[in-house]
């Protein structure tokens, strides 16, 4: 691999939890993380959900890379647990041949972004760095689905809009993402900083998670599971 990326950031959040059952891919992710500048002792590996939970019980983590298909269950449950414990935690899904719905499900559970295992190391590295910077990786397909799922931005009375409705700016960003523009291009087009764009995306993900929780609550209420 001849691709050379700029030097990584100086301060890296540690420790990092990697939940991955395949040893070879564990090894690959270890390589990627080490290339980013992590020390070997800052990396925690778990092959199952149970192992991950046991590790979490001993110490909190600052970043999590989670596979969805694990021997003892779906990674989404772990993601929801992590998100509940730490609202600011960066959670990246590193998934195999996952369906669109599985990815969306992970995002709704609280993941900060996702990357497919089949991608080259460079792309995996990019996604991890994006999360480390406090951003949230997003791609056109996800942007389009979110535009369909969340309520459209309210035109004038923004204060009266429900909490999970998209703001006008968020809708704008999603449409640009859907057209394939990168965060840099979006930032240039909207005269924003790249960081602002990423924090917008993060907020959109949060709204997606909130809307799914509210949807679950209202669905439970209509079915009579709640009072």
């Amino acid at each position: 691999m001849t691709v050379a990326l700029p030097a990584p950031e100086s301060v890296l959040p540690a420790p990092v939890l990697v939940v991955e059952d395949e040893p070879l891919l564990q090894q690959r992710l270890r390589g990627v993380l080490l290339a980013l500048g992590y020390a070997p002792d800052a990396l925690l590996f778990a092959a199952t959900l149970a192992e991950a939970r046991a590790g979490l019980a001993q110490q909190p983590v600052a970043l999590a890379l989670v596979d969805l298909q694990l021997p003892d269950g779906n990674g989404c449950d772990l993601i929801a647990q992590l998100r509940a414990d730490d609202p600011g935690l960066g959670i990246l899904v590193v998934s195999a041949w996952s369906s669109e719905d599985a990815i969306l499900g992970a995002l709704r559970a609280g993941a900060t972004g996702y990357v497919l295992k089949e991608r080259d190391d460079v792309e995996v590295q990019l996604s991890i760095r994006s999360v480390l910077r406090g951003g949230a990786p997003i791609d056109p397909f996800i942007a389009r689905r979110i535009l369909q799922l969340l309520p459209a931005p309210a035109p004038a009375a923004a204060g009266a809009a429900p909490a999970e409705a998209l703001s006008e700016r968020e809708g704008e960003i999603l449409r640009l993402v859907a057209d394939g523009l990168s965060n840099r291009e979006i930032a240039e087009q909207l005269f924003l900083s790249r960081y602002t764009v990423e924090s917008h995306v993060k907020r959109i993900y949060r709204k997606l998670a909130v809307s799914s929780r509210m949807g679950a609550v209202s669905a439970a209420r209509t079915r009579g599971w709640l009072g």
Partner: protein
């Protein structure tokens, strides 16, 4: 007990008094002393030729063949104790006449010359004016005008007595002689109209037609009893002939109706009936002068005999086992009429009385027949309608079940078919895409003879991975549709590549047409498979740029310069490479797979490279008229490679 005895004693005492009252009333009533009749040639009251008669009187037997005027003289005695208001009632004068009390005219028919008024069946009564009455003997004079063939004379009952009694009696006579016939005539008319209508709507119901005709004939015959002038005939005799013809018609129709209703097949009897009817009608119409009375009576008897015979033969037919209720009811109806006729003949050997009773009964008979016919028919039709509805429901349910079954079967078949096709499609895609890459990779490894560096092998495997991804993407529903715009088509690739290029500090520019030129069928946009293949091709081109070119700028252009042409061009300002050398060495996995993909989608693939940069272009021709989900034919145009200065 004592009270009872007392009541009994009182009653015994009172009884002679009541008896004495009755005796007194009888004693005080007017007493008819004598009734006499005399012919009058000029119509004036005759002086001589008076003969004693008993009332009511028909002169046909006394003076056969006599037509003209006859005077009747009824002498009666008025008692001193007679009631103040005395009444005179006559139940019929055949055929027209006038009535005097002593010398004063009481009443006169409208016409005493041909066409004669018809009063033979009209009961009338008058209050005798007290001023004209004398003590002792008084006389009622009745002048009667008639013709020989009719029932002539003072044919109705004559009543003389207390006006109230006479009025009461006349009221009963009115009911018996007029109202009953009128009611019957109305019923017959209604039945005739109703069944004519039914028969008109359903000609095959012959029985209804004959019943309607029978009712019409009966109506015509009943007019004999009700009409007060001979209209529309010229004189009384013609009227009588017409009545007889109507009667003959009635009997004929009744017989034919019976045959049809009972489904009896008696062609000989029918022919005989028609003949008899024709003979009867002709005889009635052309009966010789002077002998009309005898002829009429003979025709009447004949008609009645036929009617009775028919009624009896139908009994034999209808009461055999297996006949319907309607037929038995009709038989019962005829039986009643026959019984009444025979009974009446037994009491009074006079056909006219039979006619009277029949006329009275015919109304009830008509109603029974109508109810029988209509009710039976209605019930039968309702039954058959219900049966039809039940059958229909069953059939519909059956058909629905069959249809549901067939649809389910077809659906299952279609599903299996679709599954099979999809599997074959996946197999085909695997063979064409992944299989081709595998064969190429194996060839490459064989030719290298174990000298291939690890990096090459990795690149080979990545190509295989990408091909597998392509097959999977195309198999999933999202990959099977054409993106809405070129921008959306390029979006995923653009997103991924730009991210990497941004990180590498490579400037990227994307010039993408905003819209397609139209649907796949019109050649306005590529098919779904072409979209995927093109994505892979451009992805590989960009991947080469990222890995090998060391470019500072990349430009991707997607344009639709002409209808049916889609051009994708990737340019970089990198170090370039020797296209011919690479081609000769046969070592570039990426280049080969790009060419293979272009060939598969039928596109022209060109690579131009120099020290100043590289340009990869794909020109896809999209002829109109292709189906939307069609897969591009392979080998439509050979891939070309050319090296030129750039």
């Amino acid at each position: 007990m004592r009270r009872l005895v007392l009541w009994l004693a009182l009653w015994l005492l009172a009884w002679p008094a009541a008896w004495a009252d009755g005796m007194e009333a009888v004693a005080c009533a007017p007493r008819i002393v004598s009734a006499q009749a005399a012919r009058s040639a000029d119509g004036a009251r005759p002086v001589q030729g008076w003969e004693r008669v008993t009332l009511p009187d028909r002169w046909g037997r006394r003076w056969p063949g006599y037509s003209g005027t006859v005077w009747y003289r009824i002498d009666w005695e008025r008692a001193d104790c007679a009631p103040a208001a005395l009444g005179l009632g006559i139940d019929g004068i055949g055929s027209a006449g006038e009535v005097f009390i002593n010398e004063d005219l009481l009443w006169r028919d409208a016409s005493l010359a041909e066409p004669l008024s018809r009063s033979w069946n009209v009961p009338r009564w008058w209050l005798l004016p007290a001023s004209t009455l004398r003590a002792g003997t008084n006389t009622v004079w009745v002048r009667v005008v008639s013709v020989a063939a009719l029932s002539s004379g003072l044919v109705g009952t004559l009543r003389l007595g207390d006006a109230a009694d006479v009025a009461r009696a006349q009221e009963q006579a009115q009911w018996r002689q007029r109202t009953v016939y009128f009611v019957n005539a109305v019923l017959a008319g209604m039945a005739a109209a109703l069944f004519l209508l039914v028969w008109g709507l359903r000609r095959q119901e012959r029985a209804y037609g004959w019943f309607a005709l029978m009712s019409l004939c009966w109506l015509a015959y009943l007019s004999t009893y009700l009409a007060d002038t001979p209209w529309p005939f010229a004189d009384s005799l013609d009227r009588a002939r017409a009545s007889l013809v109507a009667l003959v018609g009635y009997v004929l129709c009744a017989c034919l109706f019976t045959f049809r209703f009972g489904a009896q097949r008696l062609p000989w009897a029918e022919r005989a009936l028609w003949l008899l009817a024709a003979l009867g009608a002709a005889a009635a119409w052309w009966a010789p002068q002077g002998a009309e009375s005898a002829w009429f009576a003979a025709i009447w008897r004949g008609a009645m005999a036929v009617f009775l015979l028919n009624g009896l033969q139908f009994q034999w037919h209808a009461w055999r086992p297996g006949r319907g209720v309607a037929q038995r009811l009709l038989a019962l109806c005829w039986l009643v009429l026959v019984a009444v006729a025979l009974f009446t003949l037994g009491l009074v050997p006079d056909v006219w009385h039979v006619a009277r009773n029949w006329a009275a009964l015919s109304g009830i008979a008509t109603i029974v027949l109508v109810m029988l016919l209509l009710g039976g028919q209605l019930a039968q039709q309702m039954r058959s309608a219900e049966r039809f509805q039940r059958e229909l429901e069953a059939r519909v349910a059956e058909a629905r079940a069959e249809l549901a079954h067939a649809v389910a079967r077809e659906h299952a078949q279609a599903l299996d078919n679709a599954k099979l096709q999809e599997r074959m499609q996946i197999a085909h895609d695997l063979h064409d895409g992944l299989g081709g890459s595998l064969v190429r990779g194996m060839a490459l490894l064989e030719q290298a003879g174990g000298q291939l560096p690890g990096e090459r092998v990795l690149s080979l495997l990545k190509t295989l991975r990408d091909d597998l991804r392509q097959v999977i993407d195309h198999g999933s529903s999202a990959g099977a549709t054409v993106p809405a715009t070129p921008v959306q088509w390029a979006a995923p690739l653009r997103h991924r590549v730009t991210r990497i290029l941004d990180e590498m500090g490579v400037a990227s520019e994307w010039r993408i047409a905003a819209q397609w030129r139209g649907p796949v069928e019109e050649g306005g946009c590529p098919s779904a498979l072409q979209c995927l293949l093109l994505t892979r091709l451009v992805e590989e081109a960009l991947s080469n740029v990222i890995k090998h070119s060391q470019a500072r700028r990349v430009c991707v252009e997607c344009a639709l310069p002409l209808p049916g042409v889609f051009v994708v061009r990737v340019e970089d300002d990198g170090r370039g490479f020797d296209v011919d050398a690479v081609q000769r060495a046969g070592l570039s996995v990426g280049m080969r797979s790009m060419a293979a993909r272009a060939e598969r989608m039928g596109a022209v693939f060109q690579v131009a490279s120099s020290a100043g940069g590289t340009a990869v272009s794909v020109v896809l021709r999209m002829p109109p008229g292709r189906p939307g989900s069609e897969h591009a034919e392979s080998g439509a145009s050979p891939f070309q490679q050319s090296a030129s200065s750039y």
